[in-house]
Amino acid sequence: MNAPALVVRGVEKRFGATRALAGVDLAVRAGEVHAVLGENGAGKSTLMGVLAGLYRPDAGVLELGGAAFAPRAPGEARLRGVALVPQEPALCPDLSVAENIVLGVEPVRLGLVRRAERRARAVRALAAVGAGLDPDARAGTLSPPERALVGIARALAVEPLSLVILDEPTSTLAAAEVEELFLAVARLRARGLAVLYVSHFLEEVARIADSFTVLREGRSVAHGAMAETSLDAVVEHMLGRRLERAEAAAEARVPGEIVLRVLGLAGARLPRSASLELRRGEVLGVTGLVGSGRTELLRAVFGLDAVRRGAVKVAAFGSGRARDGAREERALRGTAPWRRLLAGIGMASEDRQHEGLAGQMSVRDNLTLTRLEPFRRFGLLSDGRQRAAARRFMERLAIRASGPDAPVASLSGGNQQKVALARLLHHEADVLLLDEPTRGIDLGSREAIYALVGELARRGKSIVWVSSQLGEVLRVCDRVCVMRRGVLGAARAARELDEHALLLEAAT
């Protein structure tokens, strides 16, 4: 058996009053994929930060390849052969793919970058992750999964390499791209590298990892070989309790009249043609591969992107709702999200960090931004009322934050997503467009969101649920339709479908 490539013993780290790591032990061998599991807020990101030299631990020791390892800066960790691939790799949008890959380690001769060498290295690194991208393309033009692959390629561009840390590498990838990523990880393992793999997707971890460590509240609470444990046991360690699965309650819902109709909608590029009908009290799933046009469909419906052809019609909500039994229907035009919000349509973006939330602003401001009117008194906003409203939603959705004034960026991913959803609830939107609402969030929050959406549908809200997770779509939605190359298929009852059928429809 190989000697451990990385040993972590008793590592602690504190940020102000927050104890992010309270004693972590783990060991990874060369040629092994080691999964680090835990809910958001368990300390995974902090631990990765310590290993990558972003943070210096307050206590504990690290050993790399048998020698003491105490990186003081990311560059130092990189030189020792530790490569971190962050969850959402920040690329410089104005640089090319190749320039991004060698950023900071450019091959230089006489002060000038050797362009052929740069390109060759980029091509090699891209090949190592199995990405067939143009190295000269501008990074700003890439899709999220392409960005993720470039992020990994960047980590691999430095030699020698001994430890690769992948932080939620598949959270932005579709099923087919996950397979490519697994091939890339398998290649790393075959090269004799140690791989730390952080993920929320347990099924993935079970497939790719050899061993695991579970973190809970900043401590390592369980270690073991993946083959000798069950997923249920791992989940229990992660939660510290038994997971109570909220079973789908789709059968208890009886959808009502049509509230939203999309007729032959085409965007500037995507979607090419999409038609759907959404009923009151219904959860309609839209799935498909990344890049198939699901997000673009929601953006066009919400008026964020231009519409080339087709129509969006919405039943009149609010005071004018169904007067004398007559159903009013209005066509929505233009690219003005504020008009959609007035019409009772709300949207939660898939991109929480850059679009969904304003990071520096407080939880209460983010939560109430679309509807500040209730807090106005003589034209001025009442902080107290706004805080009280935010507190109500924080309680109802169990949002963990130091208070309504905490900057939303200080929350974990799951809690941020709850804030984004709470905004739609505060707005009292009748139609909720949710784009990948459970991406990159922990199991507990995911279950809470499933339960919340079920409850909303029972109370007469209508939801469009866009997701790559087929199991999730089948569990949460009443009906499901598949987007394929910009064309939306017909909706079918979820109970008549299975994952196999959906995947086949999406990928062929």
Partner: protein
Amino acid sequence: MSAARAVGQALVRVTRRPWFGPLVALLVVYAFFAALKPETFLRGMILETMASQVVVVAIAAVGMTLVIVEGGIDLSVGSTVALVTVVVARALVAGAGPGVAVLVGIATGLACGALNGGLIAGLGVSPFIATLGTMSALRGLAKGLAHEQKIDAPAQGLDELMALAPRGSPWLVSPGVWIAGALALAGAVLLGRTRFGRHVVAVGSNARTARLCGISVGRVTVATYALAGALAGVAGVMEFGKLTVGDPTDAPGLELDVIAAVVIGGGSLSGGQGSVAGSLIGAALMTVLKNGSMHLGVANWVQQILTGAIIVAAAALDRYRQKRAGALS
């Protein structure tokens, strides 16, 4: 006991305010000069003088705070002020009463601001470039209107705006100082306590999120610049009160003083951060430094180096505080 604790908590909260650091710096600098020149700096006269000096920059800084929090910048403030002095002077020469002249001056500023906002929101030109353009164009317009010379005008009582209060007057300081104070208060309430203010912060903090939340980014932008322009108009009226002539070459580089005041006061050029109180403290700090240096006989070049150092130090300190506050999860 609980009252004492409440006071203690309130004090702690004050120390966390973004303008707390600049305020401490202001007090320290003032104390320094007071220790070296007590006969000047421990008398009310100097305060009144400095308050009058800071009026123009302070009023323009209220508008600049809005613009910078919104994520923009306005380089055309100095040119707007010069144009307004010319417009006010011409209005008075043409026989308008002081009230009409003031309104025309403020309307001119508003129009300049609306033009800036329109260029930025309508044409998608970056704020730096758009206002760099209007900085030059408005200066040219001012010179054209004035036929390239100063315009002498009957002051019609507008000089009273900036006149020091007579000895023993219950007003203590000139009307301009009171007006600046009132506008600053209004600006702070607007930014901190109104729906529009939250929208300004939201656009500056993350324009994409703001749009997703149904905020019309274009309207907020135009309104913000128009408001800043109107405030520059008021500043221009005050400047006219000080000069009592319309001077198209007046206030060169004023925009940089105004931006410096906002930045010293905790404003971030990437948007989303800044406060009216901080900007006023920043403006006051620069004025104290100017007066202190003058009274100590420090050369102007030393004073300029000091001002530059304070601007950079303020921004660096702010970065440091944010980094410490933001290192979580």
